[in-house]
């Protein structure tokens, strides 16, 4: 009887063994002598499966999940954006409330800043000051990246429930910020005083912000959604004169369309965005283009970036949002060149220049 019980216990114990545990650390050494592209793969909200893909345009090779493979722990929940400053790649992980700084070659974590509510983007003023935008929190956090600590806040006058700040563009001493979720404005922040000096109402939900070669600001407003108490209107592309902080021109999209992913190319002379297909327009054009440069052909384009050095167009495809996505590379003329695999929901990009 004893022997049988022992055998039973051993069988059950063996049956209980699982492989959950530490991950292996992998060694990477990305070649920094030529440019590289990081693809921020959001993952699925509340899954904790955000990841980072690295693409080498020279060798045309991609490595997925480089953060997790290099550091032996996952990036977190919803990878939002990356900014390169002072030789480090700063990755903002929105729903984990953390910003990691990683080495651009080994992808190893070298710094970490915590204490955020829901960070979206980081913009560096200098090596001791950076701004971090948020949703669910109207304040823009001021951090000291060298010491990895929050040093202050920029009050924006919005409330916690609907206050949100998003992308940042700097022209001279001023940083411009679009306020996207349930908002309609662009903020102008004086970096010398860390305070909002002006606000400009542009339209419902400005989702992205870039500057062109003439230091004009461009934003796309998505127009909200049907049934939204905040309103529902036509999406727009808005050109703003930064100096006077006034709207210079508003281009209207067809009602119901959701343009997004505003990007610049050719040194800021050209604008690109996604509106089903990918559209291209010169910064001086007076009208929106009528036909897309790249047709979606059954694909839902998810994200967009332009190679600053050769004008190639990179388009993220999330497919069904729950599987690994792909990135399609098109020539500047809109011809498909090749594709490479990425993580789940490739939603943002960051270029690293050659050293």
């Amino acid at each position: 009887m004893k022997r049988h019980l022992l055998l039973l216990f051993t069988l059950l114990a063996a049956a209980s063994c699982m492989k959950y545990g530490p991950r292996e650390e992998e060694q990477f050494a990305a070649d920094l002598s030529h440019r590289g592209l990081f693809v921020l793969c959001e993952g699925n909200y509340m899954y904790g499966n955000a990841s980072l893909t690295y693409y080498d345009p020279e060798s045309k090779s991609a490595e997925n999940e480089i953060f997790a493979r290099s550091n032996a722990f996952p990036l977190g929940d919803v990878a939002q954006s990356m900014t390169i400053f002072d030789g480090l790649c700063w990755v903002v992980v929105n729903n984990s409330g953390v910003i990691f700084a990683i080495d651009p070659s080994t992808f190893r974590e070298v710094r970490r800043i915590t204490g955020f509510t829901s960070p979206r983007y980081i913009h560096f003023i200098d090596s001791h000051k950076a701004y971090v935008t948020q949703i669910w929190d109207p304040r823009i956090y001021i951090v000291d990246p060298s010491e990895c600590r929050i040093t202050g806040y920029i009050e924006t006058g919005m409330d916690f429930e609907t206050g949100s700040t998003e992308m940042m563009v700097q022209i001279g001493d001023y940083v411009y910020v679009n306020c996207w979720s349930y908002q309609n404005r662009i903020l102008k922040i004086d970096t010398r005083t860390d305070s909002v000096t002006q606000q400009l109402v542009v339209g419902i939900q400005p989702s992205s912000l870039v500057k062109d070669c003439n230091d004009k600001l461009w934003t796309i407003t998505d127009g909200g959604y049907e049934g939204s108490p905040y309103g529902y209107e036509r999406a727009t592309l808005v050109k703003i004169d930064a100096e006077s902080f006034a709207i210079e021109k508003t281009f209207y999209f067809e009602f119901g369309k959701t343009p997004r992913g505003l990007a610049t190319g050719d040194g800021g002379r050209t604008l690109y965005w996604i509106n089903d297909g990918v559209y291209k327009m010169q910064a001086e054009d007076e009208n929106l283009p009528a036909i897309p440069l790249v047709e979606p052909k059954g694909t839902i384009f998810y994200s967009l970036t332009i190679d600053p050095w050769n004008g190639d167009i990179y388009i993220g495809d999330a497919i069904d949002y729950t599987q690994n996505g792909v990135v399609m590379r098109y020539s500047a003329e809109g011809n498909l060149l090749d594709t490479f695999g990425a993580g789940i929901n490739p939603g943002n990009f960051c270029w690293r220049a050659a050293q």
Binding site: P22, G43, G76, T258, G298
Partner: protein, 685 residues
């Protein structure tokens, strides 16, 4: 003073003792060894069970660990997939590779799936309130309700019709600051029976775990990193405060009519545990959901000569809240999300069973639900005091069912049924069901069935703001079953029940919520799914000697659930792959060994890997939920004292202290224990 108060309580308690007129549950003998009875003879096969694939949860399983929810009970006693988002968190049940919203749940006949979400949170159903739990697999669920593309779980209280006073009190204390209290007080006469049950749980739920999703670094004297480790983290924001109260009243008239009233009130405040990849400090955030629910069902049953009539009416009222707040840093909390929902459902049902001849039953059933729902997010916009985002909707739902069940010969039983549903102003297609039983031997029965099935979208699917899609089509499909059921027993020696069932289902227009470019999610009819597989079950008892008895059950299921939808684009790798979070294999078993008043129970469950991506990516280092195996044990000892029965119980969960996740980035506790003491006064003495 304290002594005097204690004496008063004892005196008050003693004053009730003369009222006693009921036998205690051990009949004077605290033994766990129970009588093994002979199987029912074939001639008494109930007509209502023709073609039905039903799994009944043993009452011993329901009572084994009263602190457990129905989610835990189903995990160890069936082969359904119970998806648990953490200890004391949302737990959903899905059959046969389908989704949680494809499992219909009734309580005393009333459907309790949320009309907003379409699903049921089984972590909120205490097993202490459940006397009967049955599962109807696949098309068998159509005998009760529509919409169960996977099946249905039927939960019910039971009129034990005990005369005299009954009292049962259980107190439990366990790991993670967990206190449980359960109380059952009842009084019955020949016609009346009134019973009140209370279940209260409080837990800090602050278990610690090795967090493999984070790393901390160690530094040398010069501040240079010289090592790293995975930290021991605490489950944050996961506290549980649940209170359930159940009032039952039963009355049997002199004419044999039975009347019943059940009212179940729930008050729950639970934290929503933070993900293991969340770096925000738990003490700076309030992430909490609360619920205030009242479910009432009243029923009438009349059994006449050759017919049975039944009518039920009910009301379901639920207020739910979700709050996400943050400490601004000065101790004041600022609200970021304040979601509120209010559901009122009025329910009515009438059913008749007519036996024109002994071997034929005609069954007609009509159930109606009127839902009123308000859903709002108070903080989305605060331009006025008025709630400005959300929806208010009502929907009338009716389901009519007509069946004929016929024992054509001693060996052959045939059943045919039709169900028709109305939701809002839309009708479902006619849903036909055909079932056939054939008795191969006195112990072995073959069952086959085929049906259409249909599930209409939930109110959130249609109207949630933002994202609701009023153009959604209902999910629909066909399902086929074939199985063998073996039952053999010998009174006083053994009993054995075995079953093996093959099923095959096709579901079109499967609804999935997907993100949009405006930052919210929206449901779409995106999948065509072929779910098929095998379910097996074995259960039995063995009388080893006069004082020794072994019993157990084991379940195993193989449930491929394959996406056969159209590819989204050329890169879509999800076609032909297993659905996300549906295990291909699942198994469970419970084994008990009783020696007189001692009993040791071993519980085991296993889920194979669940894919977290629709392309079933196995190369990923971050998205795998590895096979989940759990072992729990329960040791019990009963004592028969002069005036009371006493039971001590020690439950050890996760005895091998496994580190695991049931859902990605949701930590689960390691080994934990809970100790219970149960008192059942013997009012006969």
């Amino acid at each position: 003073m304290k002594t005097r108060r204690l004496a008063s309580i004892i005196a008050l308690f003693a004053a009730f003792l003369p009222l006693a007129g009921q036998e205690p549950w051990w009949n004077g003998d605290p033994s766990y060894v129970t009588q093994i009875t002979e199987s029912a003879v074939v001639a008494e096969r109930p007509l209502g069970e023709i073609g039905q694939h039903r799994t009944s949860i043993d009452s011993a399983a329901l009572q084994l660990t009263v602190s457990q929810s129905m989610a835990d009970i189903l995990t160890y006693n069936t082969s359904v997939f119970v998806k648990q988002y953490g200890r004391g968190s949302l737990a959903t049940v899905s059959f046969r590779g389908t989704a949680a919203s494809h499992t219909q749940v009734t309580w005393n006949g009333m459907k309790i799936n949320s009309p907003m979400l379409g699903m049921t949170d089984f972590s909120m159903i205490p097993s202490y309130f459940t006397d009967k739990a049955d599962m109807l697999h696949g098309s068998s669920s159509l005998a009760v309700t529509g919409g169960g593309l996977g099946g249905a779980v039927l939960l019910a209280t039971d009129n034990a019709q005990k005369e005299g006073l009954e009292l049962d009190a259980v107190a439990g204390y366990g790991s993670f600051g967990t206190f449980d209290g359960f109380l059952k007080v009842g009084y019955g006469t020949k016609r009346w029976h009134i019973r009140t049950r209370l279940a209260a749980t409080s837990s800090e739920n602050d278990f610690t775990y090795r967090n493999y999703n984070k790393k901390e670094y160690t530094y040398d004297d010069f501040g240079v990193p010289n090592g790293s480790y995975y930290p021991i983290d605490t489950n944050r924001c996961g506290s549980i405060r649940d209170l359930h109260l159940l009032q039952e009243a039963y009355y049997t008239t002199s004419g044999g009519d039975r009347l019943s009233l059940n009212a179940w009130w729930t008050r729950s405040i639970r934290g929503v545990p933070m993900l293991s990849v969340d770096y925000r400090p738990g003490n700076k955030y309030l992430n909490q959901q609360s619920e205030n629910t009242l479910r009432t069902v009243t029923g009438w049953n009349h059994t006449g000569k050759g017919y049975i009539l039944e009518a039920k009416a009910g009301w379901l009222h639920t207020k739910q809240a979700y709050d996400f707040s943050k400490d601004r840093g000065n101790g004041t909390m600022v609200s970021m999300v304040q979601s509120r929902s209010l559901i009122n459902t009025i329910y009515g049902q009438a059913e008749g069973k007519w036996f024109p001849v002994k071997q034929l039953m005609i069954n007609a059933q009509l159930a109606a639900y009127q839902h009123f729902v308000e859903s709002s997010d108070r903080n989305a916009i605060k331009e006025s005091d008025k709630v400005t985002i959300g929806y208010e909707q009502g929907r009338f739902e009716t389901s009519a069912y007509l069946s004929a069940k016929w024992n054509a010969t001693r060996r052959l039983g045939i059943a045919a049924a039709l169900r028709e549903e109305l939701y809002g102003d839309k009708f479902s297609p006619i849903i036909p069901v055909i079932n056939i039983d054939y008795l191969i031997t006195n112990s072995l029965t073959a069952k086959v069935s085929g049906s259409r099935n249909f599930r209409y979208p939930s109110l959130n699917d249609l109207y949630f703001l933002p994202g609701g899609n009023p153009d959604l089509k209902p999910e629909s499909g066909y399902s086929y079953d074939a199985g063998l059921f073996f039952s053999k027993s010998h009174e006083g020696r053994y009993s054995l029940d075995l079953s093996a069932n093959w099923f095959d289902s096709y579901i079109d227009n499967w609804i999935v919520w997907i993100p949009t470019f405006k930052g919210y999610w929206t449901p779409r009819n995106v999948l065509r799914v072929h779910a098929y597989g095998i379910e097996t079950r074995a259960s039995g008892k063995l009388q080893i000697s006069r004082d020794w008895q072994a019993s157990g059950s084991a379940n195993f299921a193989w449930t491929p659930s394959i996406n056969h939808g159209d590819p989204k684009d050329w890169a879509d790798e999800a076609i032909g792959k297993q659905l996300v979070y549906v295990p291909l294999f699942s198994g469970s078993s419970v084994a008990s060994l009783a020696y007189s008043s001692w009993r040791l129970t071993w519980k085991w469950c296993w889920y194979s890997e669940r894919y977290t991506t629709s392309d079933n990516d196995m190369a990923t280092k971050i998205g795998r939920v590895l096979p989940y195996i759990m072992n729990d044990i329960v040791l019990e000892k009963r004592f028969a004292l002069r005036y009371t029965g006493l039971s001590f119980k020690l439950a050890v969960n996760n005895i091998f202290n496994e580190e695991y996740e049931s859902v990605l980035s949701r930590p689960m506790p390691g080994r934990n224990i809970e100790f219970f003491i149960e008192i059942i006064p013997d009012f006969n003495k």
